[in-house]
């Protein structure tokens, strides 16, 4: 979706993905350290541009680049998509951060702010490969609830894997907001030490 949501926090911000990001999206999605739990991506820039052109026409899909505010360094991607206008909910994901990025906490906080403050959703959910234990732990640590297990939900390298669905509701958002906001601010202070 060709959206115009820009959201900036303490050290990092979200801006809409642009066609010019195609090469960057391939670059980050083909780093071996980052792709253990991601399906293979076509490395043809034209194919990625075609994917983005199709995405720009798709409603209910908000794809972002995560940027560091101080130097506009590209940190990764994140998205809210499959917006269900009846249930007023959406999935979030397509989350990838570069090696060594410190944007995990603030990136998650910002995408939840998009979901609850800008899109005014009632709940968001994310689905994680059950073997991706560190990401599962991150969602747990953020205060999300494990809502359900989706059997054989993810196909990765020819193997079907279960997925864990975490959910964050509008009711629980204020406490998660306060916690992630505080931690994002602390991280930003660490990042500004060397500035």
């Amino acid at each position: 979706m060709n959206h115009d949501i820009f959201l900036y926090g303490f050290a990092f911000g979200l801006r809409p993905v642009e066609l010019a990001d195609a090469e960057y999206m391939i670059e980050i999605r083909t780093k071996p350290e980052l792709t253990e739990f991601l399906p293979p991506l076509c490395t043809d820039p034209e194919a990625q541009r075609a994917y983005l052109t199709d995405y720009f026409e798709r409603d209910g899909d908000y794809y972002f680049v995560v940027e560091r505010i101080s130097n506009n360094h590209l940190e990764g991607n994140i998205a809210v998509y499959d917006v269900d206008t009846e249930k007023n909910c959406a999935e979030w994901g397509r989350w990838i951060l570069d090696v060594g990025s410190r944007a995990a906490i603030e990136g998650a906080w910002l995408i939840y702010r998009v979901a609850f403050e800008i899109l005014e959703l009632e709940f968001v959910y994310c689905r994680t490969n059950v073997e991706n234990t560190r990401t599962l732990s991150f969602h747990d640590s953020c205060g999300l609830d494990r809502d359900q297990i989706l059997p054989n939900f993810i196909e990765l390298n020819g193997k079907l894997c279960d997925a864990v669905e975490h959910r964050l509701t509008r009711e629980k958002w204020p406490s998660v907001d306060a916690d992630l906001r505080a931690k994002s601010e602390l991280v930003s202070k660490v990042l500004s030490r060397g500035a």
Partner: protein, 79 residues
């Protein structure tokens, strides 16, 4: 010095990761799935607060084990 730091770091691990490591036993981040990026920052902040030190961004990103934190913290306190 090292003993005081070791105690502070172990206490941070106990509170944040619910891991009461034996002071002589290392904990590797890559072998601890619950040591996620949010808890990583919580450990850093807890150790900084307990010992009155500040890690740099580079140190923060490089930390990959309990012993690594202890070594860096001792170096900060001795510098």
């Amino acid at each position: 010095m090292t003993s005081k730091v070791e105690t502070a770091v172990c206490e941070a691990f106990r509170v944040i990761l619910d891991l009461p490591p034996d002071p002589g036993q290392n904990v590797l981040r890559k072998e601890s799935p619950i040591w996620d990026s949010l808890k990583h920052m919580e450990i850093i902040f807890a150790v900084e607060a307990r010992l009155g030190i500040q890690f740099s961004e580079e140190e923060m990103g490089a930390i990959d084990s309990k012993d690594h934190i202890v070594r860096l913290a001792v170096a900060h306190l001795e510098s």
